[in-house]
């Protein structure tokens, strides 16, 4: 497997885990809201977000709050995405040319980046004050990003 295929593979695997992460928040937010057993939905979501992973006997410094996992996954996706653009031979000059953003791949990449920015905003909302709206929005955005990615395959 060459470097390009390895980068694509890692980008896809972390993308899958990030989708699972977004789905997890949406499922927990929706089921907690529907649950009638007295758990405070927002408070419980905040408790989950602050819980540290991995939950084993390791120093606190190396255990990250669950909500940080999302930032780590996003950071990896952005970094590997930049590497993939470079590996595809797309230069900075091409990226800054208006003609690039009118081609199918350019439009798809632009839409993907806009959706990613909105995802990041929703994730910031989720990190500051967890709510069902932010969690469901983040999951829908993650699914939309996956769909748009079909245009870049």
């Amino acid at each position: 497997m060459n470097a390009y295929l390895l980068t694509v593979y890692l980008h896809v695997v972390v993308g899958v885990v990030l989708t699972g992460y977004a789905l997890f928040w949406a499922v927990m937010a929706v089921t907690l809201r529907a649950d009638r057993r007295g758990l405070d939905p927002e408070g419980t979501l905040a408790l989950i977000g602050a819980s540290r992973w991995p939950p084993v006997k390791l120093p606190n410094a190396v255990r990250v709050p669950v909500i940080w996992l999302g930032w780590l996954f996003v950071a990896f996706m952005v970094a590997s995405g930049i590497v993939l653009i470079r590996q595809r031979g797309i230069t900075m000059a091409e990226l800054t040319a208006a003609s690039f953003w009118t081609q199918r791949a350019g439009v798809a990449l632009g839409v993907k980046l806009v959706l990613l920015v909105i995802f990041v905003v929703q994730h910031m909302r989720l990190a500051r004050r967890p709510s069902r709206g932010a969690a469901v929005c983040a999951a829908l955005l993650a699914f939309s990003i996956v769909c748009v990615s079909a245009l870049l395959v």
């Binding site: 390009y4 997890f24 499922v27 649950d35 989950i48 819980s51 669950v66």
Partner: protein, 143 residues
Amino acid sequence: MTLFRIALAIHLLAAFAWLGHMFFWPLFAGPVLKKIQPPETAERLRELSMRMGGLGWPALVLLVGTGAYLLSVRGVTLGALVHPAFWGNGGSHALGIKLLLVLFMIGYQAIIGHRRAPRAIYLDMAAALAVLGMSVMIAKGGL
């Protein structure tokens, strides 16, 4: 957007949702929810998190359906699959491995499904990681 791209989007969406659930729940969510205090809250949260069951079969139906269509667009039909000449190139080897792993995952889903199987789940995850690897090779290397 062509029918091919729509099928590909559905294929990716089904794969990402199903495998994302398969990876995130046992590796990240489960262990964290188990340690939440008090234990009654932890148990309740684990029950709630498991309500999202039953994703495997719907995802598999979509994956097999769209996968067959995507292969037919690339000229790979059932007839071609049973022809020995088809299996002569690198791309077809990746497809063969992927199809075998998918059969294993369907078997896992049928036999174990959502029952607790702490060790077997890692085999299923390893198969899923290999399927993703083969998919990347097929998509980028061709058939």
